[in-house]
Amino acid sequence: MIYAGCDLGILSAKVAIVENGDILAFEILPYRSLPRQAAVEAMERALDKAGISAKQVDYCLSTGFGKKAVPYTDDIAPDVMCLHRAVRKLNPRVRTVIDVGGHTFTAFNIDDNGKITESAITDKCAAGTGKFIEVMAKALEMPLEELSEASLSSNNPLRITSQCVILAESDVISYVNDGYDPYDIFAGIALTVADKIAGLIRRVSVNEEVAMVGGVAKNSIVVRDFEGVLGLKLADLVGVDPQIIGAFGAALMAEEERPAS
């Protein structure tokens, strides 16, 4: 039996195709304004990579911001449940999960029996999300991957003080005009983001091990600074792309709901 999960986020569509609990293929497709089309295209690409046709998918669940808009899904699954299933499967020692997506923070605790205890979700603060980082990278006119790698060696991070994304962008532009090094500027942005995420994770209990998922978890300098702020090492998710955890979890839940008989 083959299962699929689609996590339609605010900035990208993620699809994972799963067989016997293993990922056959996945796809991450950033989009600007057409979420439905992005969900369809991400699925087509993932199917292509897996070398199967849509008909071979036995059951599909969708999750994320646009879960109800995924045209091919069989049903929807709650975001936190999907993250929980996937993280449990990848690393059962995890007790705290934080998901930092394009616009939303989700944090929750898992007890020793694998049950979700506390959870907190906020979409009322954009400082620290993928959107914030994306806007700042654009202001620096440099690719995000390059910035997050090269900024790791900055010794002089420049602090951004504005809470407002647009005014922070304005601070960045002023720094650029004053001739500061873009990697020092980005290192400052990473610190701001890490502080913000650390503030939000404290809405639940910070029990180790802590896993960070979502697109921002791929940003190496933010991860390093976040570990520094909390004084811990983030949990290993056995190399699975942190951005597809939601989609992977949706596919695992699909398998649970319609097990092979």
Partner: protein, 261 residues
């Protein structure tokens, strides 16, 4: 005598060239990351169009971002003073100017000579600015220039509550997924932007005649909302309202050049 004004905004750079008290020409370009680049690009383009060279300019005043580092300018003046001068020169009856720039939103009161009496400006939040409009347009999946015309077609405008444009962008994406009419969403964007601008203007104290300048003035939906709330027509400028700051700089340049000779 040929004078020039150059207004480097966060999003656009504007230049105006005047000869003996008449506008010879103007140019508006998208700003670059560095103010000097923006200033040089816009002035090169304008001079090229007019068949002039830098040597032909007797005096140049710069304003806006990085106004003190523009290599070809002789002096720099705050954008608030320049807006006052420019608006008053075009329409002397103006007493209140609401300026919606790229990253700031200002309300300015001027006397009959265009001198600034008092002003208010956003400091912590970018609601009511061009950049916030751009982000909201991105959420709706339309060009920022389409927002105004679209909002006039609304039959049942949405009411957006949150001043923060990043949070509002997410709310807009939800509305799009729910299938709300784009025109109704565009009208909601006009309404919340106008409310923000009015908040500043009322705090300052509004005297007639009232004008709107900056890129935001090109949004007919916002102008319509402002006129309905203020129960009066806004001043129609004989020139592009986005060049008012650069024009004011050119007028101040003429003043200064006159004093020099």
């Amino acid at each position: 005598m040929v004078v020039a004004g150059c207004d480097i905004g966060a999003l656009t750079a504007k230049a105006v060239v005047m000869r003996n008290g008449d506008i010879l020409g103007y140019e508006i370009i998208r700003s670059r990351a560095k103010a000097v680049q923006s200033a040089t690009n816009v002035m090169d383009k304008l001079l090229g169009k007019l068949g002039l060279s830098y040597a032909d300019i007797d005096y140049c005043v710069s304003t806006g971002y990085g106004r003190n580092i523009i290599p070809f300018s002789h002096d720099n003046v705050s954008e608030i003073s320049c807006h006052g001068k420019g608006a008053s020169w075009l329409v002397p009856s103006i007493r209140t100017i609401i300026d919606g720039g790229g990253q700031d939103c200002k309300a300015i009161r001027v006397d009959e000579k265009g001198n600034v009496e008092d002003f208010r400006m956003n400091t912590k939040c970018a609601a009511g600015t061009g950049r916030s409009l751009e982000l909201m347009a991105e959420g709706l999946g339309v060009e920022v220039s389409q927002l105004g015309p679209l909002s006039l077609e609304a039959s049942d405008p949405v009411v957006l509550q949150e001043p923060c444009c990043i949070i509002t962008e997410i709310e807009i994406r939800h509305l799009v997924l729910e299938g709300r009419d784009s025109a109704d969403i565009a009208a909601g964007i006009s309404d919340i932007t106008a409310r923000r601008m009015l908040h500043l203007a009322r705090n300052l104290g509004i005297k007639k005649d009232i004008a709107i300048t900056g890129g935001i003035s090109k949004n007919v939906g916002i102008v319509d909302c402002l006129e309905r709330a203020l129960k009066t027509k806004l001043v129609q400028f004989p020139e592009d309202p986005q060049i008012v700051g650069a024009l004011g700089a050119a007028i101040l340049a003429a003043d200064r050049a006159g004093n020099l000779s």
